[in-house]
């Protein structure tokens, strides 16, 4: 029995995505940067670069280093701030039909809450809460590695927002499932993981760290096995949808994350190394389902046999 056109749609809470392929925050700019490489309307959703209350200039250079099958980044969450985003960036995105997810970060519960409230605007499909970026001295790490704080942030954002709330988890923890459960308890509509893993590189000539920030976040194919393991562990414990992130480059990678229990996935570093990858993977996933005569992507999700 062949299938005509496979069903790629997935749902996160009451949000229906055309397909499970999203782009990861900080690796896809504000979307427009990729308009020449990707038909944005083909994507399930775009997650924009993390936004804070006030503008942030980010970390001094150097901000990136290449590592084996990966890269370290210490951008420092450079962003124009919520108001400039709403006035300058968001309007550019209106013309696209794909879901727009805004990634937010704060130094305090109040900032998170205020950002969530400010983003209750029609064009936005969901918000993703970055409690895990390892690059900022205040906030970031502390929130992401403490279950109680994750619960509090989630609860606060949940109360202020009328959108699906995605909590983005940090992998720099002993037990990722405890963090996911805290987010679920706090009212998260979904959890996304993983953010980058804290790493370091040293220039032996200067004897200094290669990053001005000393340490940075590791991403890319190198982290995929760790991300996949965490997604699998979390998917077995929480009822809310899980969004898989980490080293995704190919259709095989996408299918692995879906099988492990991810309802959707995000492409990060691969956007930087292969700018048309996001569209490639939407097309490739549809092809995979067709060739394997799978009528709906939903029957791949959580399909791991153990």
């Amino acid at each position: 029995m062949g299938v005509s056109r496979p069903d790629l749609t997935v749902t996160i809470g009451d949000w229906l995505l055309a397909n499970p392929i999203m782009t990861a925050s900080g690796t896809f700019g504000y979307g427009a940067e990729f308009a020449d490489f990707v038909d944005l309307n083909r994507l399930g959703a775009i997650v924009v670069k993390g936004i804070s209350h006030k503008p942030r200039i980010g970390n001094p250079p150097p901000r990136i280093v290449e590592t084996a099958c990966g890269m370290l980044n210490a951008i420092g969450l450079e962003n124009p701030g919520i108001e400039k985003f709403l006035t300058d960036k968001l309007p550019q995105l209106k013309k696209y039909t794909c879901g727009i997810v805004v990634n937010i970060l704060g130094d305090s519960l109040e900032e998170y809450g205020m950002l969530a409230e400010r983003l209750n605007v029609a064009e936005i499909a969901a918000i993703e809460v970055n409690i895990s970026c390892p690059n900022v001295k205040k906030g970031g790490v502390a929130f992401g590695t403490d279950a109680k704080m994750i619960y509090d942030v989630t609860k606060c954002v949940r109360e202020k927002s009328n959108k699906p709330v995605i909590i983005k988890l940090s992998p720099n923890v002993t037990d990722i499932t405890a963090m996911a459960l805290a987010a679920e308890e706090g009212g998260a509509s979904a959890v996304s993981l993983i953010n980058t893993i804290l790493g370091m590189a040293i220039d032996i000539r200067t004897r200094r760290p290669k990053l001005a920030n000393k340490v940075g976040g590791l991403s890319g194919p190198a982290v995929k096995p760790i991300a996949l393991r965490m997604v699998w562990q979390v998917a077995q414990r929480v009822k809310v949808p899980v969004i898989g992130i980490g080293g995704i480059n190919t259709v095989e990678d996408v299918v692995e994350f879906l099988l492990a229990g991810a309802t959707a996935i995000q492409i990060g570093t691969a956007n930087l190394t292969n700018p048309h990858v996001a569209e490639e993977l939407v097309v490739g996933l549809e092809k995979y389902l067709l060739e394997n005569e799978i009528a709906s992507v939903k029957s791949v999700i959580n399909g791991l046999l153990t």
Binding site: G26, T27, E33, C69, I75, N249, N274
Partner: protein
């Protein structure tokens, strides 16, 4: 990908020619769409790993040395893993190229143009010279090329062949042309011929010295900067550099705001 109305492309281009002398290589790639819109001073990002291999992960940025009949030429020095892999690539295989990227040199309607290149910073000067001459047929175009030693200049020999272009060279070790720095050539030329607008690409200290000289002598100066890049298209914000007072307290992004900057934006 279709080519209608786009500024940037990601293409699998066939290597038409590759030749290396010691550690300096010239590669010619068949990427018509990228060539069509390319401006002097722009760059491309080239994948430096075997297809499906993830290491080295990041693309490598190279200046557009020349474009003609849909063929893109880059000239690069082997310094690490990526350029080594590229140097080992054979004719007729495909390479993945993204471009044209960044903002090129702004070509002024001027009487006299000084093109100042140091080391691999000479790479963009060929296409720049062609472009200036095309746009200002009657103007005076002088290329001042500096290198450590004569060998480093061989790969750029064909620049001498450009019509209407006056070329002067310097080497640190005196093995060719003026024995000294390229800035000496500039001061000397300006003394002989008079002021002009300066386009500069090379090592940071050299560009800074040129920029200062131009500032003091009220000559306009553009510099082309290098930073580590992940995306080259303004998405990762990894290519930040701090600018001069005039640019405020934020950072400039070389792949998007540059790589060519008005010198005042970087150094007062």
């Amino acid at each position: 990908m279709t080519s209608c109305g786009k500024a940037k492309y990601q293409l699998q281009g066939e290597i038409k020619k590759i030749s290396c002398q010691d550690d300096i290589c010239m590669m010619v790639i068949d990427v018509p769409e990228i060539c069509r819109g390319a401006k002097a001073g722009q760059f491309v990002m080239v994948k430096a790993a075997e297809e499906k291999n993830n290491d080295p992960l990041l693309r490598r940025p190279f200046s557009i040395h020349r474009v003609s009949e849909g063929l893109l030429t880059i000239i690069f020095k082997v310094v690490g893993r990526g350029t080594k892999n590229l140097a080992n690539m054979k004719v007729s295989r495909l390479v993945d190229v993204v471009g044209p990227l960044g903002n090129g040199f702004q070509i002024f309607k001027e009487q006299r143009h000084y093109l100042v290149g140091g080391g691999m910073g000479i790479a963009p000067m060929h296409y720049l010279a062609e472009s200036i001459i095309k746009q200002n047929p009657r103007s005076e175009v002088v290329a001042l090329l500096g290198a450590r030693t004569a060998k480093e200049l061989e790969v750029f020999g064909h620049i001498n062949a450009l019509p209407y272009l006056l070329v002067k060279i310097s080497t640190d070790d005196g093995t060719a042309g003026h024995h000294g720095l390229v800035i000496d050539l500039l001061t000397q030329s300006v003394a002989e011929r008079g002021a002009g607008t300066v386009y500069c690409c090379g090592p940071w200290p050299m560009m800074k010295a040129i920029a200062m000289y131009c500032h003091d002598n009220k000559m306009s100066c553009q510099v082309s900067l290098e930073t580590i890049m992940a995306c080259g298209i303004g998405a990762c914000l990894g290519c930040a550099v701090s600018g001069s007072a005039v640019t405020g307290d934020g950072y400039l992004h070389v792949c998007q705001d540059g790589p060519v900057f008005e010198a005042g934006k970087i150094w007062v």
